[in-house]
């Protein structure tokens, strides 16, 4: 079923489809929206009933609700969307976080707000991914910058969703989703299976050393199973009036992710120790990547995961440099948490190159900004 090891020339969105299949996705519910539609189209071809279920729903609220249900039914489930579709999903993202449901949501970001630029790239949803639903919660989010990473990080998104029982996101954008290039599919792909309750495998206890993540009681396997978005105890008893139960639950939902930052976070480092470091992610990081590879005065920290915030690599980069340039395709979003960490690390100057309008910053635009900063 999964794509054979080897080399392929694929679109980013097609590589995401292959990554999902490789990670064992068995259920997709979607609603077509540019620039994510190729993911739904691809999975419609792959999940044909025998190998899994593809549903086109009436809207994006139905999509995310359906995948939450499918996940509780015991299968790996995902949806893919963009812009307004992602906004519609926000309430249920909180429900998935509260009910600790592993799901994967791919958001191929386009220019907003509202209908905005359907065919153009942006990184305007990075904060919405973490803060879009009400209440305190944590999620996991990856930011691919190539066709290969559309595959690799989709597999990771599934693995971490299962490992931590949490909504997990692939924050791509129109440029990365639509670009075509080489995908190398390896022989071995690490796939994390669901940590079901009561499987009683001898190695069960070693699956997740972090005991904040409870094993999953799956429908139809003899467990008393209750799912709720209301405040509940570890035994799924509803206790919305109990101060301590709520404190414990909400803190655990956050802690299980935050304490595992080192396990989850991924990044690429070019020329660490350079006097000027660029910190960027996704397609916005590609112009900086060319500069960092060719100019030894400039380094790059490219974040491959955005949530939980990769505090340690940002701190380390900031500690060793004189100034930082954050590049992103919004008016400044990740800039603020990065600036907070950089200041804590003693870096005094943190600048922003912000580009909206639908195109990643070009190498010449980045060089222009670096010249302004006296870095080159």
């Amino acid at each position: 079923m999964r794509i054979a090891p080897g080399e392929y020339f694929l679109q980013g969105n097609e590589a995401c489809v292959e990554g999902a299949i490789a990670a064992d996705v068995r259920f997709f519910a979607g609603y077509p929206i540019t620039p994510s539609t190729e993911i739904a189209e691809g999975l419609a071809h792959r999940l044909t009933g025998k190998d899994g279920v593809f549903l086109q729903m009436e809207d994006e609220i139905a999509c995310i609700s359906a995948i939450i249900g499918a996940s509780w039914g015991g299968v790996k489930a995902m949806t893919a969307t963009s812009g307004p579709g992602f906004s519609l999903m926000q309430e249920a993202i909180g429900y998935a976080a509260m009910s600790e449901t592993p799901i994967v949501v791919v958001n191929v970001m386009r220019g907003g707000p509202s209908t905005g630029q359907p065919t153009r790239a942006s990184q305007g949803d990075v904060m919405q991914t973490k803060y879009g639903s009400h209440g305190d919660y944590q999620v996991i989010a990856f930011a691919p910058a190539s066709v290969q990473e559309m595959f690799d990080l989709t597999v990771d998104a599934f693995n971490y969703a299962e490992k931590y029982r949490v909504p997990s996101f692939l924050l791509s954008d129109a440029e990365v989703g639509h670009m075509r290039g080489l995908l190398t599919v390896p022989e071995a792909i690490n796939v994390v299976e669901r940590k079901e309750k009561g499987l009683r495998r001898p190695d069960e206890a070693y699956d997740v050393p972090d005991d904040l993540v409870h094993p999953f009681p799956v429908f139809g396997k003899g467990h008393k199973t209750m799912i709720t978005g209301m405040t509940h105890t570890d035994k799924s008893k509803i206790e919305p009036e109990d101060v301590k139960v709520h404190q414990e639950l909400v803190k655990r939902l956050s802690e299980k992710i935050l304490r595992s930052r080192k396990d989850i976070n991924k990044w690429e480092l070019i020329a660490p120790g350079s006097k000027t470091m660029i910190i960027s992610y996704g397609s916005a990081a590609l112009g900086p990547k060319e500069i960092a590879a060719k100019d030894d005065r400039i380094g790059l920290l490219r974040l491959k995961s955005l949530w939980p915030l990769p505090e340690e690599p940002i701190y380390e980069a900031a500690r060793q440099c004189d100034q930082i340039l954050v590049c992103e395709m919004n008016l400044g979003m990740m800039y603020w948490p990065i600036k907070r960490i950089a200041l804590e690390a003693g870096c005094k100057r943190i600048e922003l190159l912000s580009k909206v309008g639908g195109e990643p910053p070009t190498p010449s635009e980045v060089r222009h900004k670096l010249r302004e900063m006296g870095a080159i």
């Binding site: 080399e7 020339f9 639509h178 670009m179 075509r180 290039g181 080489l182 590609l286 112009g287 590879a293």
Partner: protein
């Protein structure tokens, strides 16, 4: 060895298959072009195809970029093309200014009304495609001409990538279109600067 990037832009109107031209070129460079280096080792190329299109699929402008690098791809987007292929007047007006003095410009003279100066190659791809029965393969004729003029990838690599990309029942037609394009490309090389 210093890395060498080649930047190519195909442009025209929606429905001509402009984006397919870029897909075939980038696929050829990614999968089928394995030149031997001076040390006798096979060299890899990396190629990325990107595109831009308006919200309307047909009739609007269409642009497809391909960047090919001898080494790992860093910035995959085309800034100023080394080769600009133009298959409509609208695309000509939109993209002709994004060029360097030595950018090679390949135009279909039946579709582009302007007579630009510079390093110009005229390839009447649409008329030639009609001559072999259907203008639907004008893009493949133009791709064959582009390959001949640019010599960025070997003919065999383009042909293999073409067959990977188009339906099997059309392989003969597409092969005819590609070889016809190669011939027109050679003629354009020879006739360059003569008018």
């Amino acid at each position: 060895m210093a890395s060498m990037d080649r930047q190519v832009r195909f442009s025209g109107f929606g429905g001509q298959g402009v984006i397919l031209m870029g897909i075939i070129l980038a696929r050829a460079a990614s999968l089928y072009d394995r030149p031997l280096g001076e040390d006798g080792k096979v060299r890899r190329k990396s190629a990325i195809q990107t595109q831009s299109y308006g919200p309307s699929a047909r009739g609007g402008h269409s642009k497809c970029d391909v960047k090919i690098s001898d080494q790992e791809m860093l910035y995959p987007f085309v800034e100023i093309p080394d080769y600009l292929v133009v298959m409509s007047q609208q695309a000509y007006v939109k993209y002709i200014h994004e060029r360097k003095p030595d950018t090679k410009i390949i135009i279909d003279p039946d579709l582009v009304l302007d007579k630009p100066k510079g390093d110009i190659y005229r390839v009447a791809a649409t008329r030639a495609a009609e001559g072999i029965g259907t203008r639907i393969v004008a893009n493949v004729v133009m791709l064959g001409a582009f390959r001949e003029i640019s010599d960025i990838v070997p003919y065999e690599a383009i042909e293999q990538a073409l067959f990977d990309t188009v339906p099997k029942a059309t392989h003969d037609l597409n092969r005819t279109a590609l070889t016809l394009g190669s011939k027109l490309g050679r003629e354009a090389l020879e006739g360059r600067g003569k008018d």
